[in-house]
Symmetry: D2
């Protein structure tokens, strides 16, 4: 069947399904970005993003991809030769390191197996050993989109405090924000990095930084060259609800509506929903007899589930079968797990029946692609959704 009907199932872990309300909010005439009506929009989205990041400190909204927001975090706070500690949680950690290296930052990249969150013991060891405080920042990926493993940033903060290390804590929560608990202020994050196309339920095109006063002070003292990503001019002009350049007006209209929707549902309900769907997905995978890529209890992502293919079966062939037969997009395995893993996104504007359509498509696709598995994963998922199973919450998130 080449012509598909009905709605496409966009079950990659971002971009996610954009609500009609958000699309319709964007589908409005562009306005004067220096006029009084736009200033209301500007103030509204800046305040909204503070509420989502759970911060009273500045939030920057860039017209950019998430990679831009990564770069912004680095170029504002670091200069060539500075040392940072990063943890290899997966492909997105690898990519962030790549950007740091392009700016001649000296990255200590703690190795990982892509099946766990960041190795907190190693982080503690490195920080403890760094008596001279050469490490200027610790960078971790909150929700590693390539694997489905969560690193709990508040645990890293505890380490920094425990060893009394002054390094900045910078967190990529691109696919975490709006889908799992995140507390920029309470967790002592210095720079948070996010993007529009994940839990925020928008199309791609906006990148975000949330910034602590400490990070801002570092930035002010930082002579490294930058312009587009420079925080200071933006923060100054944002006070008037506007930007030093023409902002992406219509994406901002959508952002206002998206945060309205998150708040109507209640962020805590949003997070619980994602966990429930993640638990149901894992229950299905267990029946299918397929491993999740994430192997750490308490680190399973509420936003997506990476599933490991049986030896000898290609994940991308399976994804192609699913796309062609069931008009569903699943996430590919990235980099070293390409062909070995596929990813099921259960993030954003989503619900139980969309999840069941998704899991049914996976189960039927496994069959059509002749991937060895046990049937009935969907039944196990339904048991979770009906509430019979206790949903195991990641511990740190609950705490």
């Amino acid at each position: 069947m080449t012509v598909h009907t009905g709605r496409h199932f966009l079950q990659i872990p971002g971009p996610t399904n954009v609500p009609d309300r958000v699309l319709r909010a964007m589908d409005m005439p562009t306005m004067d970005h220096r006029g009084p009506e736009f200033a209301e929009v500007g103030h509204a989205v800046l305040a909204a993003m503070q509420r989502v990041f759970r911060t009273r400190q500045p939030v920057i909204i860039y017209p950019s991809s998430g990679t831009g927001a990564w770069e912004a975090a680095l170029v504002n706070t670091l200069q060539p030769g500075d040392k940072v500690l990063m943890a290899e949680t997966g492909q997105f950690a690898v990519l962030w390191r790549g950007i740091a290296e392009k700016f001649k930052v000296d990255v200590d990249f703690l190795p990982g197996d892509w099946r766990h969150g960041a190795d907190l013991e190693q982080i503690e060891a490195r920080l403890s050993a760094d008596k001279a405080h050469k490490i200027k920042a610790v960078c971790v990926v909150h929700n590693e989109t390539s694997t489905g493993c969560v690193t709990h940033p508040q645990e890293v903060r505890k380490i920094l405090d425990r060893v009394n290390h002054p390094a900045l804590l910078m967190v990529d929560t691109i696919s975490g924000l709006g889908s799992l608990e995140y507390e920029h202020d309470a967790w002592g994050i210095d720079v948070s990095v996010a993007g529009s196309q994940k839990g925020l339920m928008l199309p791609p095109g906006l990148g975000f930084n949330a910034i602590s006063e400490k990070a801002l002070a570092v930035a002010k003292a930082n002579p490294a060259m930058r312009s587009y990503w420079d925080w200071q001019e933006v923060i100054a002009i944002n006070k008037a609800g506007t930007w030093p350049y023409t902002p992406a007006t219509n994406l901002l209209f959508g952002l206002r509506e998206a945060v309205n929707m998150l708040e109507e549902e209640g962020l805590e309900n949003v997070f619980a929903r994602h966990k429930r769907h993640s638990a149901a997905t894992r229950a299905a995978a267990k029946v299918w007899g397929l491993e999740t890529q994430c192997q750490e209890q308490g680190a399973h992502s509420p936003a997506l589930t990476g599933v490991v293919m049986p030896e000898g079966h290609d994940a991308d062939n399976f994804r192609k079968v699913v796309l062609e037969n069931f008009d569903m997009s699943l996430g590919t395995g990235l980099n070293k797990i390409k062909g070995k893993v596929f990813r099921i996104g259960h993030i954003g504007h989503f619900n139980d029946l969309m999840l069941m359509g998704t899991l049914s498509g996976v189960e039927m696709g496994l069959d059509l692609a002749k991937v060895p598995h046990r049937g009935g994963g969907v039944l196990a998922a339904m048991e979770v959704l009906k509430g019979r199973d206790v949903v195991a919450m990641p511990k740190a998130a609950v705490a």
Copy 2:
């Protein structure tokens, strides 16, 4: 959970899910309904509807509900005291009869049990007995939306021809058109009645009549009073791509796009898809241990499935549980089967994974509402969708 997220599952048998392309086509500035640009739209939709009805004879598009198109069929061709033969296939047959009676038409209403299509033997008996040709029209409902039973109009045509009876054949295909085979010309239908909000994938607001030359001649000779529904003035003015009143411009924009979509998929593929989804739904119901309302082999509707609740369980309570827990609308039982039957729509802009979400919601809902049933219906449905089961097609439709 009071605030729902993700997409609502609109699984009543109409209005059906409207494709984004159709909604966006409607979301355009209204235009001068007497200008040259609109004339192109007018010509396009009239031609498109002829292709969908499979006719070269006139099609009328009313700004109206489907009930208006029912009335139009009657008031153009009949006058008070005229006799018509109708068959009680379910609630929509009952309603159509009601309209006929309001216009003082003498209805011979063949009784039915709401679990079968029209009783063709009885129809033949009445027509054979009517040597004086007092019966001016035979009216049947093609796809009885209240029960999920199909009456094959071409079989009625064969009877009329066999007994050489001149009565008009009038068919309500409101929920049939665009979801199961329909041949206005080849089947010798005199008046076809349809609506926009079912297989045509539009919001409600348009009613349709397709008319044979014979019916038009009857109408021309018919002195019964009418204005809005009168065919003749509309047909005359339609030749210029316009209407004798301001037509529902934006619904017509949507209609043009909807027929484009049906034709891109191919009508035969559209019909096969509906049958496949119907077969999968029945497979699920069989496992659940629930009867379908339709009890006639070869008459199961491709567009919807009526499901009978076990004794002592209220269908509307079940529907409420499903709506509240899973944000899915199912169809209620109408009139004498209220509370006893619920209906699953699998009509219109739909696909395999939307069906699986739907059936999963039903299966989980049965459980939550404590309706006795066997689990695993969804697995049986998946077997059908994967193509392992031979899909039994209604015979007449295949022939």
Copy 3:
């Protein structure tokens, strides 16, 4: 220039320019017309329309054109042979009479010259003379869209009261409602007829009746055949926020938003705006040296202005020049004034600069079509818009 850019100027007197907010409200998924969420919509639009009609009595919303709402007014209250008094104010009065005659109503059609509102003296004369009260209804067109002349219905009410005549007062306010004052209750109107595509700022597709208790009592006693247009079943079912058929859901979504917009502006401001634009248009016409079709002081329509072409110049040729050169649709002259008159719509979602674009297009078009005229009409219009001129309000409307 065949490919136009920028926005089309839709300056016919309906359909009018639909606001983006209304189009976007309609561009939403259709919903279960029997579910709780829809009931909220249903209640909201019924209440909203009561506020717009200024009535506490029932309002009926039909999926239909305005012609359907005309028919509804007639078939509910009259039966064949009944006598009604109508006034020939223009083409729409002619058309309404035509419908009445199709239903064998005996119309006394007071002649008019299409350049004034209804002849109140003649109406009073006929009613006074009708001692036997054979006249069952007086029907007038509030805002005659074909000419731009207003008939003030409250004056007709005064006559009926003065001569103590029990006839129903039925008013077509299709292009009046939402653009000039209208008081269904205070003016003692028995049946008001309206449509969606004029002052209500919606696409075409909805017709309205507002009904007095007296009219409803007449309808209950009226044995004339009717079904689709029958008020009683609808009123009964509307109490639950729903309809006896599938209503035009998405047009209703739009209606809710359109009334929101009218009320945000304030109906009195809406009316004042229309009068201001009408005065500015007449000021321009005066400079151009062109007569308005309406020749009665106090009867100039706030919603549109009919302009008379100089002898020997064809209005439709002029309209074609304007359409081709300036991408603006103007209204054609209808029936006996075809070719002699063009109409400028200044109704609905409109503002000063849209009016100036419109009048500039007319002035340039007069020049390109070589229609004798004086230039500078636009300057006179600007004088009015700047507020230097006292805007002469129609007296009755002010009173």
Copy 4:
């Protein structure tokens, strides 16, 4: 009047009015940015932008504002200490210089009075004098949005060729592309910089670079640090119709449709239209007795007109009067001409009657704000639009 009705007149020189077709194209579900369907979009927009830039060389599309595309041009080709020649044509030249200086580029900034295009004689003098070829690039602003003066880049190319200087030619055509002639290849431009929200008729959010092979070779050899803006990785991955990060999918949907629209009209017609509107605007200003900010014959921008206020009258007060009374946004004077100049945008999705509404709003606003002027500017504009006046085209653009 605080609640506005009708359409806002967005007559700033960008963001410009976005066509409904473009907004609706963006109002579609986001898709898998790595899937086959998106690759078609990717290939389509890259090819479309090559046609608009009139180049067969690479085009880069950034999720960014136009300021990002400025930065990209600089950081790919230059390194700290490099010398460039820039010309002070107005505020946007000033801002671009500011970015260069942040990256420690040594800018020779040729002074200007903000009322002319770049001083070509001085450019030639500097380049001739630079025997050692220390100047690595000449940077000019094609259409200086702050003043309404055009610099013809092809003249700069002729100078470079004449003096046989190897410097790169970099051109900001942010508000030029899609509104006046531009020939990236034929004019020998090395780096063109553009943005989405001007002649391309999109909301803001996309930045563009078009790059010559020569510029690309310079970039490959350039060790300066960069990541987000780096051309090479993007060009490599663009070959597959995709990007090294998640691109701004929905803005790209809109871009595809916007270029469709430009090509349906024909780029040469688009350019002629802008010139006509510019000439009509200047004709109005002349009658008003107000100077244009641009004082150079042949340099008047087709996209916008800067108008100088009479001594003692504040432009921003005037703009406020226009906004409040007529719901029209005009452009503010920037930097050193703040309060002295307002700008009328006549760029993008625009037509004659929108222009007349615009100019009428200006003329009425001048009156309401008590700015000394002669009335009747709108009549002069109409003379131009009717074609009686010869439209003086900028010479270089015609040649």
